[in-house]
């Protein structure tokens, strides 16, 4: 088991990244909220929701199959915003989950969305559905829901694995507008092939900030950018050090460069 003190440099590096993010959150909360770049997939949400309502067909949301993890909570957070939009249009939201705890959390999120949009009477607890915590049983259940409810839009966000293609292809077949985001790099190509919009990489984590324009979340995104910049600088310095270590004869500079590289060695 790794501890910070096993390699203090690594522990401190993780702490520094955290502090950068927290600092940017605090400054954004106090000052002028920052702006972030456009994320194409998210502009399509209102259009998708509106079209679904015209067609009189419901909207499906799936927060992945990873259980109560950070990606699922991020997905539910985004679904909360989309849910408000759905509620304003007076449409139905079906939330399909693969974890018992997410039934509890998900029900509250969707209920809150309908309540804060002023349409609490439209919320139906039966539309927050636990299907299975078993990967392919869940996929079969979601495919069934998509086919029988003829969903008009589906939002697939969170940790998806091989089942991604089953869910998205069935959605494609019923003509649903699909927006997807996942932390699993290996599933992104399949979402790209089947969905209308895909949030790549950490666009997923920027989505809630983009939708809510909430200073805390926007500040967090700025912090993440600075943390990313720090990683970029470290990689460039490390690459230059690697060149130096290779070329320079043994001596102080050589040792210094080697020591810099070893800061990140576990």
């Amino acid at each position: 088991m790794e501890h910070a003190s096993d390699h203090w440099s690594i522990g401190i590096f993780v702490a520094v990244l955290s502090i950068i993010i927290l600092y940017k959150i605090v400054t954004a909360q106090r000052g002028k909220p920052p702006t972030i770049r456009r994320i194409a997939g998210l502009n399509a949400i209102d259009e998708a929701v509106g079209r679904a309502t015209e067609m009189g067909r419901p909207i499906l949301m799936v927060p992945g199959i990873g259980g109560l993890d950070i990606p699922a909570l991020q997905a539910l957070n985004i679904f909360g915003y989309i849910g408000r939009s759905v509620a304003r249009f007076g449409n139905r939201t079906i939330l399909a989950v693969a974890d018992p705890q997410l039934v509890g959390v998900g029900e509250e999120v969707i209920r809150d969305a309908y309540t804060s949009a002023g349409r609490p009477e439209l919320f139906n607890a039966e539309d927050v559905r636990f299907l299975s915590d078993r990967q392919f049983a869940f996929a079969s259940g979601v495919a069934g829901v998509i086919e029988r409810e003829k969903v008009a839009a589906s939002f697939l966000m969170g940790a998806f694995f091989a089942e991604s293609l089953i869910i998205a292809e069935v959605g494609q077949r019923v003509g649903a507008i699909q927006v997807a985001a996942t932390n699993q790099f290996t599933q992104l190509p399949f979402f790209i092939a089947t969905c209308d919009y895909v949030l790549l990489g950490d666009e997923f984590y920027a989505a809630s900030a983009y939708l809510s324009k909430n200073p805390t979340l926007l500040g967090s995104i700025v912090g993440q950018d600075y943390a990313k910049l720090l990683i970029l600088i470290v990689v460039i310095l490390g690459t230059l050090s690697a060149c130096g270590v290779l070329m320079l004869p043994a001596g102080h500079v050589h040792d210094l460069l080697q020591r810099f590289m070893d800061l990140f060695k576990s």
């Binding site: 293609l165 089953i166 997923f204 984590y205 967090s220 993440q224």
Partner: protein, 283 residues
């Protein structure tokens, strides 16, 4: 833990006293929580969230060797690692009812009110009950429950039924659902691999090169090229390997860094209850 709460053999009367007292204390805690003024609820939730994350964070950041004897790995919090994981998985398991009630409850309602296509719901309920019973029987009774012979067939045991349900049912359905992707991946590539833009073209080209690097068909097409020297690079298996190792890996790594920072930031906001959004904002 062990020093605070001595275990008592369950044959001892005191054990039952301790059990009852703990249950009473537990209910007392719940009652006390409920009696708490409403405005204190949100800070309390924030506190509990913070404490939940604090163990792992502190266990990581506190230097090894603090508060433990020499030779023990980690710090004074480390010996509880398994205990915390156990408690969290046990307590978490109590939530399984939320899932079961959601699914089974809905189908019970459909079946009992004979709503549209209630027969399917009935089959779901029967499968659920049968699987629960025979999985438990298999665990507890081994092969001992013999179901007497039916219409001349030799008698069968509970284990035989379990095998039919598990292998014939659950495992087969799992593999069949997985195998569906074999069909879907073909229609997906037919639709997606179009020379529409530079991006789409590159996606298609790299997919096809990697595909051909994996099958005999590819070996045929470029089998004539020498296996050594500069031209060997253009054999599909070599181009495919190059794309996977040298072009895919750095792109994947860069995306991973961004995702990792996203998780770090989301975790920090959750842990410190900085999130002022849905769910977390309600009392």
């Amino acid at each position: 833990m062990r020093t605070l709460f001595h275990s008592i053999p369950h044959t001892h009367p005191l054990y039952y006293v301790a059990l009852l007292a703990t249950v009473a204390a537990g209910i007392g805690i719940l009652a006390l929580l409920q009696a708490l003024p409403t405005r204190l609820r949100r800070p309390l939730i924030a506190l509990v969230t913070f404490l939940g994350g604090l163990y792992y964070a502190a266990e990581f950041f506190i230097p090894t060797g603090w508060g433990v004897h020499k030779g023990v790995d980690g710090n004074f919090l480390s010996p509880y690692f398994d205990k915390v994981a156990n408690i969290s998985s046990v307590l978490g398991s109590f939530s399984i009812g939320l899932g079961v009630f959601s699914l089974i409850g809905m189908h019970l309602r459909i079946a009992s009110r004979r709503r549209e296509s209630w027969g399917f719901s009935l089959m779901l309920l029967i499968s659920f009950v049968a699987m629960t019973i025979f999985t438990l029987l298999n665990e507890y009774a081994g092969k001992s429950v013999v179901i007497p012979s039916v219409a001349g067939h030799s008698s069968i045991t509970n284990h035989d039924i379990y095998v039919v349900l598990f292998n014939g049912g659950l495992a087969s359905l799992d593999s069949a659902m997985f195998a569906l992707i074999g069909f879907f991946i073909i229609s997906a590539s037919y639709r997606a691999f179009r020379i529409r833009s530079v991006e789409a073209t590159l996606l298609m080209a790299s997919a096809i090169i990697v595909m051909l690097g994996q099958v005999t068909l590819g070996s045929w097409l470029t089998g004539g090229l020498p296996s050594h020297g500069p031209l060997a690079f253009f054999r599909f298996e070599n181009m495919s390997e190059y794309i996977l190792v040298h072009l895919n890996a750095p792109a994947q790594r860069a995306v991973t860094f961004g995702l990792a920072l996203g998780v770090l930031a989301t975790s920090l906001r959750l842990w410190l209850s900085l999130e002022r959004g849905l769910y977390f904002d309600q009392e």
